[in-house]
């Protein structure tokens, strides 16, 4: 038998599981453990990438059935282009992050045992691969929850900190509630697919071959969307995300933000396009609206953050929103039978999946390097790191530029394609959608611009200027494995930005599988240099020319200006004659975001307090000034707090049942009997 892609993928999963089992044996040799474990995960990830890429380029599906699980419901695995694509996304970033981890995890040596980190890291990766590979409801949910549980243990890794525990708890609860919703959704589908006389309905194949009544399908979709949205961090279910992602070890944050969230996207695509297949347009509208909401609110919240990793986490909310915009548009186009447009929209969505995985992974790795070097997450305490950490700074900058959707990097390509998809909405037959969808384009534009502001802040405050903190740690550049991990991700960002045509041509198998149409004929029509979705006349973009054009002009200008040797004089910064200028006077994260906070303040729960110390001769010359600012998510107060309150209220009420007196308990039985008898008569 020739091993095919799915054997490769399974092998990768098995390798990870074996690694997870064996790792505890090495717990006494921590250094060896790090090298072996993360080396092995890197190899396994590479294997997964190969399997995925192979499948996508072959464009067909392979299945195997493993004879474990329930005897009546063995585990079904399937590797089709959609799964293959996500396998590549997950595998690619896992590869980078695994390499990075070899350096990063060493930072924990001497402080705590990294055994559990290594074990759950392996399980986490295995879980993600399995989610993508699974082809029946049971194995899907098992993988889904293994992924959630493993990441939970990774979040709680540094468990002595209360914030980690709190975040992990919140994460776990939201994830589990979401998982139950997904479970119920599968329940609906399985029930409609084959009834409950047998276990057959649980396989995806049965669901694919069934046709669902609209009511049941809608229930299934809404449940699934709720569950997946909770996992993806779609506003308003996102609250766990900015808590959990920052406190996890940075390599894990990179994976969680970069690829774990994508499994939720995968789930939505799988359920709507592959399992249900026929759906009304307003499903897409729901996805679109939540996508827009997440995009705008996510970036605004990101702008308000002072914690570097928290900022990145909120930015993930934004990007998930952008992805859902693409998916939602694809759903709308599909339901109106516009396959070409749907293919375009879907491609934008999944291309952004890939892109976001790359740059968000890169950014989290960069933030991890900073954290590793400074032991600081608060940007207010940072600054000027570009001098001590030139590599990290440059790579982080690439990430920032990519995520801000600037050409010639990859973030721009997917955003550009999303705009193109938006601009195709006039082809829709529904007048209402025609009017409303362009508004979405405006919101997307707003998101992009705000993201740029956000990452100017992130990069500028962290790496530029002077050190803002009170005490100055000795900062060292990240070591080579970490750098290599980041360099690979940065290279991917650049390549995906300047060669989108190749990437999209390769990805065409996915829309081909799900919608039946591919972009291939139109997108790559003018060769690899030109990206022309739909038609040449509509729009075109050439990444290579933009990149090399700018590069050429910059180099030309530089050379021209350096023909005549000029000197550069280094002087202290100009202080306008003030003389007492110090580094605490720089703009910091809070002040940078101030104008935007003013403008969009109504969206946040802002508590700003200024207090002037009493011990002063005159009010105009205070000895001390105290300023405090709290920007909170309104969603917490609107959605989560009431739920928590209601639960405890319920708990108090229920607690009254158990009030201690035995007579009362006897009365319960007595009344129960009477009630039952009365009802039965």
């Amino acid at each position: 038998m020739n091993p095919g892609p799915i054997e490769f993928a399974s092998l990768s999963v098995i390798a990870l599981l074996v690694a997870a089992l064996l790792t505890p044996l090495f717990s006494r040799r921590q250094r060896l453990l790090i090298a072996c474990c993360f080396g092995l995960t890197a190899a396994a990830s590479l294997l997964a990438v190969v399997a995925g890429a192979w499948t996508v380029s072959r464009g067909n599906a392979e299945k195997i059935v493993m004879l474990i699980g329930l005897p009546d419901l063995p585990f079904h695995l399937r590797l089709d282009p959609l799964a293959g694509f996500f396998l590549v996304v997950i595998g690619l970033l896992s590869l980078f992050v695994s390499v990075y981890s070899i350096g990063y995890v060493k930072g924990f040596l001497g402080k705590r045992s990294v055994t559990s980190l290594a074990v759950f890291y392996c399980l986490f990766l295995a879980g993600m691969y399995m989610v993508v590979l699974s082809d029946d409801a049971l194995i899907f949910l098992i993988s889904w929850e293994v992924m959630a549980a493993a990441s939970y243990f990774l979040v709680i890794f540094e468990d002595e900190r209360i914030e980690n525990r709190r975040a992990a708890f919140l994460y776990m609860v939201v994830a589990h509630v979401g998982a139950i919703a997904i479970l119920l959704s599968f329940g609906v589908l399985a029930g409609l697919a084959s009834g409950f006389g047998s276990f057959d309905g649980y396989t995806f194949d049965a669901m694919r071959s069934a046709s669902f009544p609209i009511g049941g399908a809608t229930a299934a979709f809404l449940l699934a969307f709720f569950g997946f949205a909770a996992k993806a961090g779609v506003i308003p279910l996102h609250v766990w995300l900015p808590e959990a992602h920052p406190v996890a070890p940075s390599n894990v944050s990179a994976l969680m933000s970069g690829v774990m969230l994508k499994t939720a996207i995968y789930g939505v695509i799988r359920i709507t396009f592959d399992l249900i297949r026929v759906f009304p347009w307003w499903w897409g509208a729901i996805v679109l609206v939540f996508g827009l909401l997440s995009a705008v609110m996510g970036v605004l919240y990101a702008l308000m953050q002072n914690d570097l990793k928290r900022l990145l986490a909120y930015s993930s909310v934004e990007n998930i929103g952008i992805i859902f915009i693409g998916v939602g548009l694809a759903m709308i186009f599909t339901s109106f039978k516009l396959p070409l447009l749907a293919a375009l929209a879907l491609t934008t969505g999944i291309y952004h999946v890939l892109n976001h995985a790359m740059f968000k992974g890169l950014l989290f790795m960069g933030a991890g390097a900073v954290l590793h070097a400074t032991h600081e997450r608060n940007m207010e305490e940072m600054g000027g790191l570009i001098h001590q950490m030139p590599w990290t700074a440059a790579l982080f900058l690439i990430g920032c530029v990519s995520i801000s959707a600037m050409p010639p990097f990859n973030g721009f390509v997917s955003e550009w394609l999303t705009f193109q998809a938006f601009l195709l909405s006039p082809s829709l037959p529904s007048p209402l959608l025609k009017l409303l969808i362009p508004m979405g384009a405006a919101l997307l534009a707003l998101t992009g611009a705000l993201a740029a502001a956000c990452f100017v802040k992130a990069f500028g405050v962290t790496f530029l200027g002077h050190w803002r903190g009170h005490h100055r740690p000795k900062v060292q550049e990240a070591d080579w494995p970490m750098r290599v991990g980041m360099i690979m991700a940065a290279t991917a960002c650049l390549l995906l930005g300047i060669l989108p045509t190749l990437a999209i041509g390769w990805m065409d198998a996915v829309p081909q599988q799900l919608i039946g149409t591919s972009l291939g004929t139109s997108a790559g029509a003018f060769g690899w240099m030109w990206l022309t979705p739909v038609a040449y006349e509509r729009a075109s973009y050439s990444g290579p020319i933009v990149f090399f054009g700018i590069l050429a002009i910059v180099i030309a200008a530089y050379l021209l200006l350096h023909v005549r040797p000029g000197t550069i004089r280094r002087v202290p910064i100009w202080d306008c004659g003030f003389e007492k200028i110090d580094r605490r006077m720089q703009y910091n994260a809070t002040s940078f975001a101030m104008p935007i906070r003013r403008i969009f303040g109504f969206l946040f729960n802002v508590k700003e307090r200024v207090r002037i110390s009493r011990r002063t001769a005159h009010r105009a010359f205070p000895a001390r000034l105290y300023y405090s600012l709290h920007v909170r998510d309104r969603v917490w107060g609107w959605l989560y707090k009431p739920v928590i309150r209601a639960s405890f209220w319920g708990a108090r009420k229920v607690g009254r049942l158990q009030q201690g007196r035995i007579q009362a308990y006897l009365i319960y039985s007595f009344v129960t009997i009477i009630v039952l008898l009365v009802f039965l008569r």
Binding site: Q658, I662, Q663, L666, S669, F670, L677, R681
Partner: protein
Amino acid sequence: MNLAVAAQIISFLAALVLLCAFGMLVQRRMYGLIHLFAWQGLFLSISTAVVGFVAGKHHLYISSLLTLSLKVFLLPYILHVLIQRLKIQKEVETVVNVPMTMLIGIALVIFSYHLTAPVREISTLVTRSVLAIALATVMIGLLMMITRRHAVTQIIGFLAMENGLFFAATSATYGMPLVVELGVALDVLIAAFIFGIFFFHIHTTFDSLDVEQMARLKEGD
């Protein structure tokens, strides 16, 4: 003895059993309770014997003897001894709202009658009308456990329920199979030992047998 007479006798005994149950419901004194319980057991035993005689079921004699020895002599004796040992013979329990309790008891009798109607219709036994009384006795035993707060009273209520069940078994079906009867008797016996031990434990721990004190285990605020 012809069937009609037997039925009358059994009905009469059933009435006495019910009366004892009501008596126990409102009896405040320990000894009074034990005596009432013993009387109830006696009526039960006689009734079982009569049924056995009428129906020609000889294993019912054994049941009758069991009841006699266990519920008329042994259990009252054990209770008696316990009360003396624990020096609580003088204790008088407050019973709240006697009329109300009685009313509920009567309501229970009516309810039981109503409930057992279908059984009565199906049954061909002479004892069929007694089933309502048996159920009522069970219910009143439960009611007694609810209204009283003394451990001994609760146990007596529990045993009264047991009587009611036994009565039900004889009246509805001329008694359960012998194995079951014996097993039930064994269980009651073990239970008797256990509550004996309990009385001591409770008394030494709480200094009284008032179960109101035992309300620590609850969902506090």
